[in-house]
């Protein structure tokens, strides 16, 4: 016996197929509206996990970039201050050469010594440079100015960053990758009398000019000032290398952000063309189902009986 097809069956089947096509249309419509392939974890559990990882990575990358930009500004400000100090030291060298010459008399040397004293204040002022409220040359004691103005030449900061035991001012520019950004003032300017730092050397030049010690002015002082200039150059090139590294890191992070965004889009975003094609196909299917349903439901034996 062939299967009996009853009115109830026909109606239910038509309704069921309309519902099915309709629910597919709704899903596609949701994809078109959100432009997302994954709208909830159950759409694709593994894809969700990947999308979440990539979102985290993207967020981390933009933070690392922000950190690197901050470190770069710090290094740039440091470089400006170091350039100022180098200018001052070079000026001191000129004054020293002038003072060491036998043609300069005691009065001339006295006024040269006065200028050196002014230069010392200038050096300290440059060393007290700050970036967004943090002193650049105090090690980790960023709220303390590294040098006091006046006669006190003692270094007030700490050796963080120079001393391997103390972490310096670090910036995180990648997962687990940090870069130290600070320069310890003591390394360049010294800790006042008793060492060969720039401040002590300048103080000695000033004293030698006043006392007219030509031998020292032509010998020891020149050597020491040259040594300090070399040291300054060394510190500046270290800072410059840091700037290079940061620029490279920023570039790499930009690239990484690009690739991660692309990957995230591959995992999470709907393929617009595909979605539109799906939508048209399903719409056609829906219309076909409606038409077929209407035709089947209307036809009856009653139309043909009298």
């Amino acid at each position: 016996m062939s299967t009996r097809i009853t009115s109830g069956m026909t109606q239910r089947n038509i309704l069921a197929s309309l519902n099915l096509v309709n629910s597919r249309l709704t899903t596609t419509q949701e994809r078109m509206a959100s432009l997302k392939q994954i709208n909830r974890p159950s759409d694709d559990p593994y894809g969700t996990s990947r999308a979440m990882t990539l979102r985290q990575n993207l967020q981390a990358t933009s933070q690392y970039k922000r950190n690197a930009d901050d470190a770069k500004s710090w290094a740039d400000t440091t470089e400006d201050a170091l350039a100022d100090i180098t200018d001052v030291a070079s000026r001191a060298k000129v004054l020293l050469t002038q003072g060491g010459s036998d043609g300069t008399d005691a009065t001339g040397r006295g006024s040269l010594a006065d200028e050196i004293d002014q230069l010392i204040e200038g050096v300290k002022q440059s060393a007290n440079a700050n970036y967004r409220g943090s002193y650049l040359f105090s090690g980790s004691k960023t709220t303390t100015a590294p040098y006091a103005m006046g006669a006190d030449d003692a270094y007030k900061g700490d050796d963080a960053g120079l001393d391997p035991a103390q972490p310096g001012v670090l910036r995180e520019i990648g997962p687990g990758v940090t870069i130290g950004v600070n320069t310890v003032g003591r390394e360049v300017l010294g800790n006042g009398s008793g060492d060969d730092g720039l401040l002590a050397t300048l103080r000695k030049v000033s004293a030698d000019l006043r006392s007219g010690d030509s031998a020292a002015l032509r010998g020891d002082d020149v050597t020491k000032l040259d040594a300090n200039l070399t040291k300054l150059l060394e510190v500046r090139s270290r800072n410059g290398a840091r700037t290079n590294r940061l620029e490279m890191a920023t570039e790499r992070l930009d690239q990484l952000a690009g690739t991660t965004t692309e990957q995230l889009s591959n995992v999470e975003d709907a393929d617009v063309a595909q979605t539109y094609i799906d939508f048209s196909t399903q719409q056609a299917a829906y219309q076909a189902a409606l038409k077929a349903g209407a035709t089947i439901v209307q036809a009856s034996l009653m139309d043909f009986l009298h």
């Binding site: 009853t6 109830g8 974890p41 159950s42 967020q59 409220g133 943090s134 600070n182």
Partner: protein, 459 residues
Amino acid sequence: MPISSFYGLQTSLRGLLAQQRSLDVTGHNIANVNTAGYSRQEAALAATPALFLPAGGTLTGSASLGSGVDVTSYRRVRDQFLDLQFRGQASNLGQWSGRADTLQRAEDALAEPGDNGLNTQLGKFWDAWSDLANSPNPNSDPAARQALVERGQAVADTFSQVYDQITTVQQQARAEYDSIVAPAGPGSSGGQIAQIASQIAQLNDTIKRQTASGDSPNDLLDQRDQLLDQLSTFGQISVEKQGSGAVNVSFVDTASAGTTYSVVSDTTATWAGPPAGDAWSPGGRAGGLLEAVRPGGTLDGYLSSLDGVASSLTSAVNGAYGGTFLESSDPAHPAGSLRVTPAIVAAPSTITAGLAGQGANDIALRVSQLRDGATDGAYRTFVTKLGTDVQEANRQVNNAQALTDSVDDRRSSVAGVSLDEEMTNMIKFQRSYQAASRAMSTMDEMLDVLINRTGRVGV
């Protein structure tokens, strides 16, 4: 043996009456074409006992002369085996859809993947630590600490929102479960099961009495079958037919074979509610809901996973921070009660960014380096687990729906009313009725000749 002259009239009358009854049944079928649970009926016709003609009536000896037709019964066309199959599938569909409905709501609570989910909040929290590492100086840049506290609170709020929403889903599903299984009590008609049970018991009573008086209460049987269909969506049922026409109904425990819970016994509704402590697996929607909400069930599992993520976050952050930054006010529910330590909220400037001077940021760096570590991983695993569970439940719902529809189709192929068929029958019975009355007219004409014209010669 002589045969009555009016014999043929009687035979035709039976034909007329039987066709009329068949037409009545067709009318009943057409009237109920849209009645849920209705099974088509048909009048079973059988020839009435023949008139026995002993020897001498014919040349060959004895013979039987047909006496017409009669309706022996009005049959309900239905396949009880398909009912069994349907109820098994309906119970399966109920179970998976109960589970899917519940888990989908838990899934919505997560808001993943997206900008409002915990994943993004955690990312922003790590960002805030990194910003603190960039501006560790509390005097020159207090905003970094303030922002960190706010990010920390946002993470804690998101944790407790997700936790609360899953708890709410749990309560709602429990309320639905109760509205299904609650037994009838004084002043309450009970849950859906109890109400169906009392309707079945009443139907049992009526059916029993009508069956005893030799009647076949087709429409009441349809009603009872429909109630049994409804009952089967709530749990797996077993139906035992009694000789009296009544049925005994009970739920079958799907986890322990042989354990049953009586719902209706003869004419009494015996449903007394589920066993204490949720100690049963009824299948059906009740079973699906119970599986999700029972202590140690699916939702409890989600809550404890979330607690695990919150504890892992707290211990990782506090460990790296070297003090208490995050804490849970209620140790039993770390995720629901996560917060930034009140002392830090009150004075964000007390957050230590580094160990040495004020510019040191080793601590803040250490915390920010927890990014994308064990905590984020544990949370992703949790989201994936929930997503997989919902996906599985949805797939099972689709499967069960397809199977239920297929059995239902087969069932209505047998029991459903086909209008085309009824129209054909209508014409068939109408023509038969006309033919029977034509036979009667013929008899009448014959009798007319006999009564009015015979022996009237010369009158």
